[in-house]
C-alpha cells in the first residue's frame, strides 16, 4: 500500500494543475459575463444553417 505515498501527491498535483487553469481562466476574463454567452451560443449555432439557405441580401 506504500504506492499511496506516490499516488496521492500525484493526484494532488493534478488538482493543483486544474486550479491553476481555473485561475488563469478567471484572470483572463472568462467569468466576467455569465449571462450573454448563454444566449450567444444558441445564435452562432443556428446561423450556420440559416445562412446557407438564405440568399444574399439584395442591394
Amino acid at each position: 500500500m506504500s504506492v499511496i505515498y506516490v499516488l496521492v501527491p500525484v493526484a494532488s498535483l493534478l488538482a493543483a494543475a486544474a486550479v491553476w487553469a481555473f485561475i488563469r481562466a478567471a484572470r483572463s476574463g472568462q467569468f466576467d459575463d455569465l449571462d450573454t454567452p448563454a444566449v450567444r451560443m444558441l445564435h452562432d449555432d443556428e446561423e450556420e444553417s440559416s445562412e446557407k439557405k438564405q440568399a444574399p441580401p439584395q442591394q
Binding site: A15, I23, A26, G29, D32, V39, R40, E47, P57
Partner: protein
C-alpha cells in the same frame, strides 16, 4: 345598404395594424393605406430599414423565439461628433495595435437575446468594425474598429439607427478595478472549492478508516495532507474573514466575520495541534467546506450590489463629457464656467444647463422626461443638460454645470439616497453581535467547568462548541434566500435590485402611485364628442401629426385614416394648429382655444366642465375662428386596477395618488378604482413630488410607483422606488424594483413575494438558531464529541440551503 355600412365601420374600428418592427399597434393616423409594412413610429421604420437592408431579418425570429416583450425602437438621430474628438479619443478609447482601437459604450434599449445577436452583427452593418461584444446584463458593448476604415461617431450612428443609442461608459479605471475585484473573488471561490473537495476526499477515507481500521502511517499521512490543503484554504480564500474580523475588532463593531473567524481560528489551531500530536479530531474538512459555502453566499450578495451600482453608472453616462466653444475649441465639461458660451450642433446633447442665445431649433428631452416629442427652442429658452438638440446648431450661455445642473442634481440625489440604504444583511450582523457574545461566553464557561474533570476533555468540549455553533447557516441563509427570491421574481417579470427592497416591501405601508400607466391604460384612450360632428375628421387629421398622449387617442378613433391635406402644423404644449383641407383648425386646451376665438359659447364651457368632472381631459376644437366642438379624451381605467387595489388593501396597504395631471381627473380615476379623494394630489411637478415623498417618509415607509426620469429623484427618495413598464431607461437606475409588465397586478405579486421571502429568511434563521442551541447544549454537556459536531455542521447548512430553495416565494407569472 345600412347593414353593410355598420359592418364596415365595425371592421374599421376593430382593425388593428401591427408595427412591422415592434409588433405593437400602429396609431390609426400613421397607417399608410396600401403599404405592405406599417410602422408605429419613425424609430421603428429606421431600424427595420437597417435590419432588412443588411439581411439581418433573422433578428425578428430570434426575438420571437426568445419570448421577450416587444419594445418600440428609440432612435435619436444624433451625430455623435464628440466621439471623434481628439480629447475624447485619448481618454475613452485605447489603441490595441497600430490602426485599431477599442472602446466601451453603454447602450440604451438592449433587453433580450435578439439584441445580443443584432449588436454582435455590427461588423456586417458598419464597415470597419472588427468586433462587437455585448454584455447583456450591464448593457455594455465592447467595440474594436479599424481607424483607417471608420470613425467611432459613424459606428455610434449605426448603433443609434439600430435603436440602441450609445453613451460613453464613465471612468474606465473604476470599471477595470471592479472587474479585477470580481475576478479575485471568483479565484477565491475556485481555490476554496478545490481545497474543500480534496479535504473531503481525505476525510471520507479517514472516517472510513476509523471504523474498518487503517494503518497508522497512512492515517497520519492523510491527516498531514488535509492540514496542507486546509492551510491553503485558510490562508488564501479564508483570509477574507480574518481581515473582516480584524476590521470589526478595530472599529469595535459586531460583524458576521467575527464569529466566523473565531470558529475558523479555533478549529485550525485545535486541528493543527491534534495533527502534530497525532491524536483527536482534525476538523479540517468542516473548515474548508465552511469557507467555500460562506464565500458562495458572499458572492451572491456581491453580485446584487454590483448590479445596482452598474445601473447607476448608466444614469451618469447620459450627459456628454465634452463641450465646444464657439471658436471650435473643445473643453471637458469640468472646465466650463457659468457665463461661458457654447456651441451645440444638431444631434448633440447639451453639456450644461443654460439659456439659448443664438439660433432656433428643437430639443428632445425624452431622457429626462420620457416625453419624446421635440420641443421648439429659440433665444431665451432654458435648456437642460442631457437633452438632445435635434434640428439646428444653437449657441448656449452656461448657467449651471456638472452636479449643479438639473440632471446633475437629480443624479446626486439618486446616488445619495442609494448610498443611504441599509442592506438587509445588517439584520444578520445584528444577530451576529449577540451570537458571538453568547458563544464565546458559553465556550469559556464550558472550558472552566470541564477543567475540574479533565484538561483534554475541557479543550475538546469547548472546541466542539465553537465548531458546532459556527454561524454557517446564519451567514448563508439570508443571501441565499434573497438570491433565490430575486431569481424567481426576474422570471415573473419583476426585477429586484437588492434584498433590502424585499425586506421593506414585506411589511405593509403606504403606496404612492403615479396615475398614468399604473391605474389607466397607456397610450391614447376613448373620445367623447360634443358639437359639430363634421369637425371631427379635421381634428383627427391634425392630431395625426403629433405623438402626444391625447393625439394618440385621436389616432385610434375609427374616423382616422381618411385622406386630408394638413399644412403648417405648429405644435405647442397646449395644443396644435394648422390648415386642414384649406380650413384653419386648432385643437387644444380651453385656454389655448380661447386665445383663438372671440368668445367661448356657453355650451362649450359647460361641456368642458362636464368632461373634466368625469375625469376626462377637455379638448376644444376651433375651426375657422369659432369653437366647433369639445372632445372629452381619457384613458380607460385598467381592467385589473380595482381588483388589485382591493387586494393590496386586504394585505394592509394604504394607497395614495400623486400625479402631474389635473386634480379633477386624478380624483375621478382614483374613485373608480376605490381610492378615496382625500388620498389624491394633482398638478404636482417633479420637484414637488420629491418634497411630498420626503414628507411622507418622515411619517413612515413609503413605496413610490412611477416612470420617467423626472420621477427618478422621487423614486429614490421613497423607501422603495418601483419603476413601471415603458418608463424612461434611466429611471431604472433610481428604482429598487422594475416591473416589466404593466398595471397594478405585478405590484400585488411583488408584495406577496416579498412577504414570502421574509418568511423564508426567518424560517432559515430559526432553523439554524434552533439547531445551534440544541447542538450547543449537547456539546457543553459533552454528549457529542467534536467528530459528531463536525458532521452535524454541514447538515445544518444543507438544511438551510434546501429550505431556501423549497419555500415558495414568487409564483410563475399568470398568462397574459
Amino acid at each position: 345598404m345600412p347593414t353593410e355600412v355598420v359592418a364596415a365601420s365595425a371592421a374599421n374600428s376593430a382593425r388593428r395594424v401591427a408595427c412591422a418592427h415592434c409588433g405593437l399597434d400602429v396609431p390609426a393616423g400613421l397607417v399608410v393605406e396600401g403599404a405592405e409594412r406599417q410602422f408605429c413610429c419613425a424609430g421603428c421604420r429606421t431600424v427595420w430599414d437597417v435590419i432588412y437592408g443588411h439581411g439581418l431579418e433573422r433578428f425578428y425570429r430570434i426575438q420571437e423565439s426568445s419570448g421577450a416583450a416587444a419594445q418600440p425602437a428609440r432612435t435619436t438621430g444624433r451625430r455623435y461628433a464628440e466621439l471623434d474628438d481628439a480629447a475624447f479619443r485619448d481618454v475613452w478609447t485605447r489603441e490595441l495595435e497600430p490602426g485599431t482601437r477599442t472602446a466601451e459604450l453603454y447602450l440604451e434599449g438592449v433587453h433580450c437575446a435578439a439584441c445580443v445577436w443584432l449588436v454582435e452583427r455590427l461588423p456586417r452593418v458598419a464597415p470597419g468594425v472588427i468586433e462587437s461584444r455585448l454584455d447583456l446584463r450591464r448593457s455594455l458593448v465592447r467595440l474594436v474598429w479599424d481607424e483607417r476604415d471608420t470613425t467611432l461617431s459613424r459606428v455610434a450612428r449605426t448603433l443609434d439607427s439600430l435603436g440602441y443609442p450609445p453613451h460613453p461608459a464613465r471612468d474606465a479605471k473604476t470599471r477595470q478595478a471592479r472587474l479585477e475585484e470580481d475576478r479575485k473573488f471568483i479565484v477565491r471561490i475556485g481555490v476554496a472549492a478545490a481545497a474543500a473537495g480534496n479535504v473531503m476526499l481525505l476525510a471520507i477515507s479517514l472516517y472510513g478508516g476509523a471504523y474498518s481500521g487503517v494503518e497508522a502511517a497512512h492515517g497520519t499521512f492523510f491527516r498531514w495532507l488535509s492540514m496542507l490543503f486546509a492551510m491553503v484554504s485558510l490562508a488564501w480564500p479564508g483570509s477574507l474573514f480574518f481581515r473582516g474580523a480584524w476590521a470589526a475588532i478595530r472599529t469595535r463593531t459586531a460583524h458576521l466575520d467575527l464569529p466566523i473567524a473565531l470558529g475558523l481560528g479555533a478549529g485550525a489551531i485545535a486541528g493543527t495541534v491534534n495533527t502534530i500530536l497525532g491524536r483527536g479530531e482534525i476538523y479540517f474538512d468542516s473548515l474548508t467546506v465552511l469557507i467555500f459555502l460562506l464565500l458562495v453566499g458572499r458572492w451572491v450578495q456581491h453580485r446584487q450590489q454590483r448590479w445596482a451600482a452598474d445601473s447607476l453608472e448608466l444614469l451618469f453616462s447620459l450627459t456628454p463629457r465634452l463641450a465646444r466653444r464657439p471658436s471650435g475649441e473643445d473643453v471637458p465639461v469640468e472646465a466650463l464656467r457659468v457665463g461661458d458660451l457654447l456651441e451645440v450642433r444638431a444631434g448633440e446633447s447639451f453639456p450644461a444647463d443654460g439659456e439659448v442665445t443664438d439660433g432656433a431649433s428643437t430639443m428632445d428631452q425624452s431622457l429626462l422626461t420620457g416625453e419624446s416629442r421635440p420641443v421648439p427652442i429659440a433665444p431665451g429658452t432654458r435648456v437642460c443638460a442631457g437633452a438632445v438638440n435635434v434640428s439646428r446648431a444653437v449657441q448656449v450661455r452656461v448657467e449651471a454645470t456638472g452636479t449643479e445642473t438639473r440632471a446633475g442634481r437629480l443624479m446626486r440625489l439618486v446616488e445619495e439616497y442609494s448610498r443611504r440604504r441599509a442592506p438587509i444583511v445588517r439584520s444578520a450582523d445584528r444577530i451576529a453581535g449577540w451570537f458571538v457574545g453568547v458563544v464565546v461566553s458559553l465556550a469559556v464557561v464550558t472550558f472552566f467547568v470541564w477543567l475540574r474533570v479533565d484538561v483534554s476533555q475541557a479543550i475538546d468540549n469547548a472546541t466542539s462548541l465553537l465548531i458546532v455553533t459556527c454561524p454557517c447557516a446564519l451567514g448563508l441563509a439570508t443571501p441565499l434566500a434573497v438570491a433565490v427570491a430575486i431569481g424567481r421574481a426576474a422570471r415573473a417579470g419583476i426585477l429586484v435590485k437588492g434584498g433590502d427592497a424585499l425586506e421593506k416591501l414585506a411589511r405593509p405601508s403606504r403606496i404612492v402611485l403615479d396615475k398614468t400607466g399604473t391605474l389607466t391604460e397607456s397610450g391614447g384612450g376613448t373620445i367623447e364628442w360634443e358639437g359639430d360632428a363634421e369637425a371631427k375628421p379635421l381634428a383627427v387629421a391634425l392630431e395625426a401629426t403629433s405623438s402626444h398622449a391625447i393625439a394618440l387617442a385621436f389616432q385610434k378613433d375609427p374616423s382616422a385614416g381618411g385622406v386630408h391635406r394638413v399644412d403648417g402644423a405648429v405644435h405647442s404644449p397646449a395644443g396644435i394648429e394648422g390648415t386642414v383641407d384649406g380650413r384653419a383648425v386648432a385643437v387644444g386646451s380651453a385656454s389655448f382655444a380661447a386665445r383663438r376665438v372671440s368668445e367661448t359659447p356657453h355650451w362649450a364651457s359647460s361641456a368642458q366642465e362636464r368632461f373634466t368632472s368625469r375625469g376626462l381631459s377637455a379638448v376644444s376644437v376651433v375651426v375657422d375662428g369659432r369653437i366647433a366642438a369639445v372632445a372629452g379624451v381619457g384613458n380607460p381605467v385598467r381592467a385589473d386596477a380595482a381588483a388589485a387595489v382591493t387586494e393590496l388593501r386586504r394585505h394592509g396597504w394604504s394607497l395614495a395618488v400623486l400625479s402631474g395631471d389635473d386634480l379633477g381627473v386624478v380624483i375621478s380615476v382614483a374613485r373608480r378604482v376605490g381610492i378615496p379623494p382625500a388620498a389624491c394630489r394633482g398638478g404636482v411637478t417633479a420637484e414637488e413630488k420629491v418634497c411630498a415623498i420626503e414628507a411622507e417618509v418622515q411619517r413612515g415607509p413609503v413605496v413610490m410607483v412611477g416612470d420617467g426620469v423626472n420621477d427618478a429623484a422621487a423614486l429614490s427618495a421613497a423607501t422603495v422606488g418601483i419603476a413601471v413598464h415603458g418608463g424612461a431607461e434611466a429611471s431604472l437606475a433610481a428604482a429598487d424594483v422594475y416591473l416589466s409588465r404593466p398595471g397594478l397586478t405585478p405590484i400585488v405579486g411583488l408584495v406577496t413575494g416579498a412577504r414570502n421571502t421574509l418568511w423564508t429568511i426567518r424560517a432559515c434563521l430559526a432553523v439554524s438558531l434552533a439547531y445551534n442551541a440544541a447542538a450547543a447544549t449537547l456539546a457543553v454537556t459533552g454528549i457529542i464529541g467534536p467528530l459528531i459536531a463536525a458532521i452535524l455542521m454541514p447538515v445544518s447548512s444543507l438544511s438551510v440551503v434546501l429550505l431556501a430553495f423549497w419555500f415558495p416565494t414568487f409564483g410563475e407569472p399568470p398568462c397574459p
